[in-house]
Symmetry: C2
């Protein structure tokens, strides 16, 4: 008998709102995590537990509801008071844990922990506890729990206490901070996070370096013993830490790309680009994405190769991100300011070197994917990076991929991409040049290589490899 | 037969200048490294190779000279052109490598590598090559080479090429960056540094976490294999990475403390402190030392425990550091500004909460060591930290030690110190309170524990444990 599956993530696959007639109707959520997890919905007995985002969600709450009318897939919502949600999600997860896992602090000055942080942390603990309780409630069906991301890092341990025999997988979509850098966190937070994650049977990451960081941290905790092959022992229980790089589903993405409104976007962009080559980036407007150095590298490329002036356009598509948080706001302002300066210094009456659009419009990005000659993906650190996988699947010009060696996607796509150190403006500028000036044959060979590598993995195979690892550590009871 | 010893470090144990009669005379250098290495000079056959700092040094140059007239200890100087020295030492070592090993970058914005960095790097390579050549020149005596610190990280590999059978120990006095953070460096620099260090038979660090970081990085390099117990194989050669925490020599420090001019400092400070309790810090004015958060924690302590207002003084002694570099200058300004603000906000006509002195005066610091009730050592990261070891050796008031858990000294002294997360203002404020309000019995027990632990290790035992590790990996030819 196959186990049922219960997914937990901060954001759910759908949200509910009242339509004009007052009926509760669902609409799909956005974001990389939902894309990555769509594979689990090939299984129609899954239940998804998420934080309530809307009044409609709060109405559905823990009672649960089919995702679509008639579907066997259910969604349940954990309702958190506004203040708790803000502390858990915005403050603790986005301002603190995101920063530690992406090495984003200016350590001589930030962070500073104090009583306020401790309050955030307590809300984080309670939010995780609410998730664990909701999941335990599903325990009588002996499901496999798939707990997603650093927001819910305490849940596996809490769920283990409530359901000692539960089969639990935790998966982190971000990088995982190195062992010494993780010591920036107050001791009790660091230990709680490591012990919380270690409550799972399988602790999954996007790439090998994040596994190694986790194991190195875990090894220093009292009561832990690290074995070979990523396994470790805690409380006489064996668990395993492994890399399971996520996959992108080619088919639905290509369907999206073929939709009339996306084609309209593409045609509009095609007219705008004219004869110019197109350099594209698609990111959340967020400090780990390394947008500033991307603009500076493009500027350096133009200044070193003036023959490209007026012959290339850089389209930078940003979805707004965490604007309420001052660090994100300041970084976003700096990025837009830099683009403006470069346009002023290098632009002409007929030609603007960089076109920035800040908008929440996934379809627009998919339209642009079709058109690029080079796609710039240069995060300072990134768990995986889905843009690097989506772009090549729908691009129609054998576009080249410029890829940071600090993105998880590097281990999968590095052989076919032009890889860069994201801190190296010169190397990035050279890669932009090489990408745009690449001979057709090489361009086609690389594009085919990328596409082949990306399609060799699917969301179902991503899930299957996690379930297989789980069976090795904790076989299902027969 | 015991091997002779050749030490290499950027700064030598002495520098030469012309006295009034035109004679070249030596004077002792300052700095933690020289203190740490004084132990090797219990062996009177040692030769020390350092960069020339003065015209006198340049005159001595590679010909060498006894350290003092009549001494069997010799010093030789590598003469580097000014531009090369600046690029190798100030730019590459202090602005780049220091920042990577102490996690000091604001990664969303710094560093940015470009052609200029590459020029610095080339000078760094050539400076290291000049050291390697000077060391190879001593090879006919079959010495043990003790190569010091991250400035000279390429030397072991270069020396190995010139003298394949050389017996080489490299020792890093700073932390060593975690494997993913080290990837901030351009690929060729990172690889050169790792391969350079791995050219040694024994790669030494101050503490276990730095060993682990090094091994994790080395493991990812082609051609390397990591075995158990810190050993690794490269080019069919076995080497070992190990922790050898440095030691401080109690006797000469106490002799210094007893000198009349130091006693005079102490009496002056005693008069100044009056009846107040004394909180002391002694540091280079430098971003890894976490001076800003130290002041903020003291402020928080005063605001939370107003009964201590006017009853405590914070003496902050800073030696100026790398003032020509903008990052250091900006940080220093911020620190002094913060102290001024706190003095303005909390001070009274009779009482100034913080007394800051920026001066190069080791004797003054030793005088202050005698007097503190609490010593604040809260670096964000620190290879070891010698102040934490020197203070307790000469303190006369059973003063408490407040110690960052991210300092290498933590593993040696943590049991007897009040330990803090250096990013946690609240925890640090509480530790200041606990240190000052500590009952006498606990205060004495902890002070004795510190003193015992510190004196259990000596510079000769530090050296002996390295030589023993060397004998295991590469026994001397008989």
């Amino acid at each position: 008998m196959e186990s049922t599956i219960v997914v937990a993530s901060n954001r759910g696959p759908v949200s509910f709102d009242h339509d004009e007639s007052g009926m509760l109707t669902s609409h799909r959520g956005a974001g990389g995590l939902v894309t990555a997890l769509s594979g689990v919905f090939f299984r129609d007995d899954a239940t998804w537990v998420a934080a309530a985002m809307t009044d409609g969600d709060r109405e559905v709450a823990l009672e649960g509801r089919p995702i679509d009318p008639g579907s066997h897939q259910r969604v349940r919502f954990v309702v958190l008071p506004t203040e708790r949600y803000d502390a858990y999600y915005n403050q603790m997860a986005n301002r603190i844990l995101w920063f530690v896992h992406h090495y984003l602090w200016d350590t001589a000055r930030t962070p500073m922990f104090d009583e306020e942080t401790e309050v955030f942390w307590q809300h984080f603990v309670e939010a995780n506890r609410a998730f664990a309780a909701a999941l335990a409630d599903e325990g009588d069906r002996h499901p496999v729990y798939l707990i997603q991301d650093y927001h819910l890092s305490l849940v596996p341990g809490m769920l283990r206490e409530l359901r000692p025999d539960a089969r639990i997988i935790h998966f982190t979509h971000t990088p995982f901070a190195g062992a010494t850098y993780l010591r920036i966190l107050p001791l009790h937070m660091r230990e709680a996070i490591l012990r919380g994650m270690a409550g799972a049977d399988v602790v999954g990451f996007q790439a090998r370096p994040w596994v190694e960081s986790f194991l190195l941290s875990v090894r220093s905790l009292p009561g832990f013993r690290v074995l070979r092959g990523g396994r470790f022992v805690v409380d006489d229980r064996v668990a395993a830490a492994r890399a399971f790089p996520v996959a992108v589903s080619a088919h639905p993405l290509r369907e999206t790309a073929a939709r009339p409104e996306i084609l309209a976007h593409r045609r509009e962009l095609e007219a705008w680009r004219g004869e110019a080559a197109l350099l594209l980036r698609v990111d959340r407007l967020e400090p780990s994405k390394n947008i500033l150095r991307g603009f500076l590298a493009y500027e350096l490329f133009l200044r070193s190769h003036p023959s490209w002036l007026e012959r290339v356009k850089f389209l930078a598509l940003f979805s707004p991100s965490r604007k309420a948080l001052p660090e994100y706001q300041a970084y976003g302002d700096d990025c837009l300011g830099e683009a403006e300066r470069i346009n002023k210094e290098l632009g002409t009456k007929e030609w603007q070197p960089i076109e920035v659009r800040v908008q929440e419009d996934y379809g627009y990005a998919v339209g642009a994917y079709g058109l690029y000659d080079a796609l710039l993906v240069n995060p300072v650190y990134d768990g995986m990076n889905l843009v690097a996988m989506e772009g090549p699947l729908v691009n129609r010009r054998h576009g080249a991929l410029i890829l940071s060696r600090n993105a998880g996607a590097y281990s999968r796509l590095g052989n076919h991409a032009l890889t860069v150190n994201p801190f190296d403006i010169r190397e990035t500028a050279d890669a932009i040049h090489d990408a745009l000036a690449m001979p057709d044959e090489e361009r086609m060979r690389r594009a085919r290589g990328l596409s082949r590598r990306i399609q060799a993995h699917t969301p179902p195979s991503w899930l299957a490899s996690q379930l297989e690892a789980l069976d090795q550590v904790r076989p299902p009871e027969l």
